[in-house]
C-alpha cells in the first residue's frame, strides 16, 4: 500500500448563519495517497467546495461547527493550533480557486504574489533566489516571457494566464497536496484543456497529490484515478474512476453520467 498523506474521516460541517443550523457536509471520508489525483464531482451546493475549503483550513472558525478529523502529517487540521495550521497552508497544502479574475490581489505585482509562499515559509531564502524560483515556476506553468510577467499586474493578463499564475503561486513551495476547486469553470474550453494538461504534468513531475473538484464529469474522468460523487452533502459513491463511470451503482451517479453530452467522431 502506498503512503497515505491525507486522511479525512467523518467530516461534518454545519452552518449557524441563519436561525436554525444547517448541515452542508455529512460524514465525508477521503484518503489521499502520494502522487494520486482524486476527483470530487457533484452539482453546485453538493458540499464539494465546502469539504475542500475545510481541508485547506479556510473555513472560518466561527459561524460554523466542524466535527471529524482531517489528519495530515500527524496533526488533526481541525483541532491543531492556528500556527501549526498556517505552517502547512501554502507550504504543504495549496489551493487554487474557480475565479482567477478575483483570486489575485489587484494592486500587487504578479511576482510578489507568486513568491508569497516562499516569503512566508522559507524566510532564509534570499530575494534573488526567490525571484529566480518564481520566474522558473512561471515558465514551467507555460507563461511566455516570465521575466516580463513577473513585473506585471493581474489586470494585464487574461483569465487563463491568471489561472496559470495562481497555479504557479500554489506550486512554488512544492506542496504535497494541491486542491483545485473548480479551476477551469470560469475559463474557455480550449484553455480548460491546457490547464488540465498542466495539472497532469505537475502531478507527474513533482509527485504532487491533487484533489480536483469539478462538476464537469468528462474532465474528471480524464484526469483522476479515483473519484468521489457528492450529492446534498453526502458522498454517494466512491471508487476507481473507471469503475464508477462504467458501472455506476447509484441512481444519482447514473443520471450525472447520462447528462454528459456525448460526441461520437
Amino acid at each position: 500500500m502506498a503512503d497515505i498523506i491525507l486522511d479525512v474521516s467523518d467530516l461534518n460541517i454545519e452552518f449557524h448563519d441563519h436561525d436554525k443550523p444547517e448541515t452542508v457536509v455529512f460524514d465525508f471520508d477521503l484518503t489521499l495517497e502520494k502522487g494520486e489525483i482524486v476527483g470530487i464531482v457533484g452539482e453546485s451546493g453538493s458540499g464539494k467546495s465546502m469539504s475542500a475549503l475545510a481541508i485547506a483550513g479556510l473555513l472560518k472558525r466561527h459561524a460554523l461547527t466542524k466535527t471529524g478529523r482531517i489528519m495530515f502529517d500527524g496533526h488533526d487540521l481541525l483541532t491543531c493550533d492556528r500556527d501549526t495550521l498556517r505552517s502547512y497552508q501554502g507550504d504543504e497544502i495549496a489551493i487554487i480557486f474557480q475565479e482567477p479574475m478575483t483570486s489575485l490581489n489587484p494592486v500587487k505585482k504578479i511576482g510578489w504574489q507568486v513568491e508569497e509562499c516562499l516569503r512566508i515559509h522559507h524566510k532564509d531564502m534570499s530575494k534573488q533566489e526567490r525571484k529566480e524560483k518564481a520566474v522558473n515556476m512561471l515558465d514551467s506553468v507555460g507563461i511566455h516571457e516570465p521575466e516580463k510577467v513577473y513585473n506585471m499586474y493581474p489586470h494585464e493578463l487574461s483569465g487563463g494566464m491568471r489561472q496559470r499564475v495562481m497555479i504557479a503561486a500554489a506550486m512554488i513551495a512544492d506542496p504535497q497536496i494541491l486542491i483545485a476547486d473548480e479551476p477551469t469553470t470560469a475559463l474557455d474550453v480550449t484553455v480548460q484543456e491546457q490547464i488540465v494538461e498542466l495539472l497532469r504534468k505537475l502531478n507527474r513531475e513533482k509527485q504532487t497529490s491533487i484533489i480536483f473538484i469539478s462538476h464537469d464529469l468528462s474532465l474528471v474522468s480524464r484526469l483522476c484515478q479515483r473519484v468521489l460523487v457528492m450529492n446534498k452533502g453526502y458522498v454517494v459513491e466512491t471508487g476507481k474512476t473507471e469503475d464508477v463511470f462504467k458501472r455506476p451503482r447509484e441512481e444519482y451517479t447514473k443520471r450525472l453520467i447520462a447528462a454528459i453530452p456525448k460526441i461520437d467522431i
Binding site: 479556510l58 498556517r86 497552508q89 495549496a94 483570486s103 508569497e116 489586470h155 495562481m166
Partner: protein
C-alpha cells in the same frame, strides 16, 4: 507616465475653465470699477478716460487674458478699499491659513487611519460599537461649535489655552503652532470621524473579497492579510475622500479663524466681501481654486501609484 501627462493637461484645462468662470462672474457684477474709483461725481469724460487707460473697454477675452497673465506673474490687482497691491495684503496672511489647514489635515490622517483599521479589525466588538456611535455624533458637530466647546473646556476649565492670545509666526513659531492646536482639532474632528468610518467600511468590504482567501491559503495570519493585502486596496476610496477633505479643511479654516480670532485669510475675505472689494475676493477664490485643482492632481498621481488598474481603465 502617459497617464500623468494626460492628467496635468486636464488640470491646466480645468484651471483655464475655472479662472474664466471666476473672471466672468466678477466682471458681470453690477457697478463700474471706474465709477467706484473716481467717485460718483466724476464727469463722464473723466470716466471714459479712466476706462480707456485701464483697458476696461477692451473685449472680454482680451481682458481675461490680460488678467490671467498678470495673475500668473503674481500681480493680482489693487485693493479698492486699501489701494495696495492684493498680493502684499495676502502674502503674510497666507502662511497662517495654510499652516492651520495642513495641521488639521495631518491630524485627520493620524487619528483616522489607526482608528479605522482598529475598528475594522474588531468589527462589532465593544470598542468598535462605541467608536461608531461617537463617530456619528462627532460628524454632526459643526467645527465652529466644537471650537467653542474646546475653548470653553481648555480655556475655562483646564486653563491651558488663552482665547484670543494669537501669536504670529514671525514673533514666536512655537507659540504660534501651540495656539493653532485647538483650532486644528476642531477642523480635523468631523473629517477624521468621516474618514474613520470610510476606512472601516472599506477594509471590511475588501476583507470579504476572494483575494483575501487566497492570501489566507498561503499561510498569512489575519494581521498579515490585513497589512500586506487588504490595506492598500482599502485605501483607494479613502484617498479620494482625503483629497477632497484637504480643500474642505482649508475652506473650513475660514470659519474657524473667526471662532479663534486668528488673523488669517478669513478676516480679509470677510471684510472684502462686505466692502465689495472684488479684486481681493477674486484673488482669494482663485488661490483656493488653484489649491483645490492641484490637490486633485496629487490625488490622481497617488491613485496611479496605488492602483495599477487605472491606466487601462481610462
Amino acid at each position: 507616465m502617459k497617464y500623468i501627462i494626460k492628467k496635468i493637461l486636464m488640470m491646466i484645462l480645468t484651471l483655464v475653465v475655472v479662472s474664466f468662470c471666476v473672471f466672468l462672474a466678477f466682471s458681470l457684477i453690477p457697478g463700474d470699477p471706474a465709477t467706484r474709483k473716481l467717485g460718483t461725481e466724476a464727469t463722464p469724460e473723466l470716466i471714459m478716460q479712466y476706462r480707456e487707460k485701464m483697458g476696461l473697454n477692451d473685449p472680454l477675452l482680451v481682458r481675461y487674458f490680460r488678467w490671467l497673465i498678470s495673475f500668473i506673474k503674481g500681480d493680482m490687482g489693487t485693493s479698492y478699499s486699501y489701494s495696495v497691491p492684493v498680493s502684499s495684503m495676502l502674502m503674510n496672511k497666507l502662511p497662517i491659513t495654510l499652516t492651520l489647514g495642513i495641521m488639521s489635515f495631518v491630524m485627520m490622517i493620524v487619528i483616522s487611519i489607526p482608528l479605522g483599521i482598529y475598528t475594522a479589525k474588531h468589527e462589532n466588538g465593544y470598542i468598535d460599537k462605541v467608536i461608531v456611535v461617537i463617530n456619528q455624533i462627532i460628524m454632526a458637530v459643526p467645527p465652529f461649535f466644537s471650537g467653542i466647546l474646546l475653548t470653553f473646556l481648555f480655556g475655562m476649565i483646564f486653563k491651558l489655552f488663552t482665547p484670543g492670545g494669537f501669536v504670529s509666526y514671525t514673533q514666536d513659531m512655537g507659540a504660534f503652532l501651540k495656539y493653532l492646536i485647538l483650532p486644528a482639532i476642531s477642523i480635523a474632528l468631523p473629517k477624521a470621524a468621516m474618514s474613520t468610518k470610510l476606512l472601516r467600511g472599506s477594509v471590511i468590504a475588501e476583507a470579504e473579497k476572494d483575494y483575501t482567501r487566497t492570501a489566507y491559503s498561503r499561510g498569512n495570519s489575519t494581521t498579515e492579510v490585513l497589512y500586506r493585502h487588504v490595506l492598500k486596496n482599502a485605501m483607494i476610496p479613502v484617498i479620494t475622500f482625503m483629497g477632497m477633505a484637504l480643500a474642505d479643511m482649508i475652506a473650513g479654516s475660514i470659519v474657524i479663524e473667526q471662532v479663534f480670532s486668528i488673523p488669517g485669510i478669513s478676516r480679509i475675505l470677510l471684510t472684502s466681501i462686505s466692502n465689495r472689494d472684488y479684486p481681493v475676493v477674486e484673488a482669494i477664490i482663485m488661490g483656493i481654486a488653484i489649491l483645490v485643482i492641484v490637490t486633485n492632481l496629487l490625488v490622481d498621481i497617488i491613485y496611479r501609484i496605488i492602483d495599477p488598474r487605472i491606466e487601462t481603465m481610462e
